[in-house]
Amino acid sequence: MTEHVLSHDPSTVGEVAGIRAREQRRHKASIALRYFLLAAVGLLMLYPLIWLIGASFKTNSEIFANPGFWPENPTLDGYIKGWQTSTPYSFGTFFLNTLWIVIPKVIGTAISCTAVAYGFARFDFPFKKVLFASLIATLLLPNVVTRIPQYLLFRDLGWLDSFLPLWVPSAFAGDAFFVFMLVQFLRAIPRDMEEAARVDGATTWQTLIFIVVPLLMPALISVCLFQFMWTMNDFLGPLIYISSVDKYPVSLALKLSIDTTEAFEWNRVLAMSVLALTPALAVFFLAQKYFIDGISSGGIKG
């Protein structure tokens, strides 16, 4: 009845349309303002990166003469010369070295952390609480504190100037943070699936591989991504243990080009920095979905 009356009263119809239009305008204005602010702050945060990319195409003199990020005479000079480096090796070697450090380390981390986390989350054994507490305590220990004893240990083992000191700690679940992350994730997963698997005749290892690992996948992908990015960016580890230039990873090689060139060729350094950034960025964007799943959801829905 009310609707009937409303729709036949021209003045009321006009009023309603007016209110709706006003609300829509206000809504649009608020959205525009919101996006403008977000874009502005986002740009501010990204500006150094944008400048870096712009500057890598500039000539060495223009970098200091022109404060803007757009190069006046874009050149690939920085990339070409930077790639060749002042050493007998090109940056290709250094990239391969980085991969040769990163990939075994990531695989070792994934396997060892999963096994250790599974143990802590699912089994009872003597001194479990003390062991877990000490694992967590190592999280709080600054890395620097252990550098010297570790160095001495690896020196006595004769592992200096090899990738072993970088690989081995991770292959024995040395990264407590990842173990902790996986334990927390596992605790949120109900045990029923594993019990069902045991009733179905699976051994402990079969249960781990066929049931637990697939359930753990989002967290495991995050662990791999974190380890990938942190190892790519690790400077101190290789700096301490690796001394011959042919084994340098990218992070050390970048420093190398600052050290050895007489007048710093900044455009080369910047160009190589851009290249050094790309793998980590590419991997992050490709796996963004899993990455966020892994750190945000503590488990799965039943």
Binding site: P190, D192, M193, V199, D200, G201, F210, I300
Partner: protein
Amino acid sequence: MARLQLRNLEKDYGSLRAVHGINLDVEDGEFMVLVGPSGCAKSTTLRMIAGLERITGGEIRIGGELVNEKPPGDRGISMVFQNYALYPHMKVRKNLSFSMRLKRRPANEIEKATEHVSGLLEINPLLDRLPKQLSGGQAQRVAVGRALIKKPQVFLFDEPLSNLDAKLRASMRVRITDLHKRLKAEGQQATVVYVTHDQTEAMTMGDRICVMKDGHIMQVADPVTLYNRPANTFVAGFIGSPEMNFLDGELEGQTRVKAADQTVALGDEFARRLSAETSGDVTLGIRPQHLRIAETETPGTLKGKVNHIEFMGHEVYLYVDVGPKRLIAVVPSAAYDRAALRDDWVWLSPDPKGVHLFDRQTGENISLAI
């Protein structure tokens, strides 16, 4: 032969004893229901049979073989879990065949078994779905199928229907009992141990029912015996709805009980059910269905005031205050008009056939002599 035997089975959690040396025999092909309130250790018992929980003492034999130390996969059991526990990353087909794939059975054998089981449970159209795409009832059928495909000696069900809505639960009840009969008719091993806290499930599904309380077995019997001849106050109170009425009283002679300052006459027939030496303090138990209502004073009955009336459709629940005790009487709703109204006085006469006397100290039923 897939007989399941529990001998002096015990389970301790630290200093807390959860299961107190229970003995239970489940015959080949029998549908045994473990029922009891929460915390009565029925699920713990089931998990010990499955091998998911270590036992502290005693023996578990399946088909005569001692399985105490065997891992769950080697015990010849399969289990259906309360929340289905399907493997979320595998399609229904893979979920069903997981146990066979672990044993590396040939592909055509797996295929055949999967087809057979999915046909039996009408889940063929679901084979290529993931568990998250199934409804509760479908997921439960897949879980049953996964148990079935192993052709176990003993099936274990851990409250499998408690996550389903009432209507689905009723249909799944029928489906599971039908399946049990069908397996038996086909000559397959079909010994079942079924845990539930729902007495309706227990009464409708079980060949025999084992009522448990605080880690003790209170009574093992078929549903009719359990209802008509409860061994103690716990079983009497647990089985039957609404709950049996209990009144503390004193036995006078063999035919009368003095309770709530009134005297209930039980008749000579009843006296024969008592052992001769019975006397003194007793607890009188009367099922609500066995109380008759009179609106005029009758000797030898319990006088009380109607406090509350619940209309249930085909019957009516009357809450009657007899002295300090509140009794429930169930009367057919056809009798509702004539039956007492709120705040009226009524006289409740128990049907002696439905009356039980329990020893007040031990709670044992002392009216089971015949």
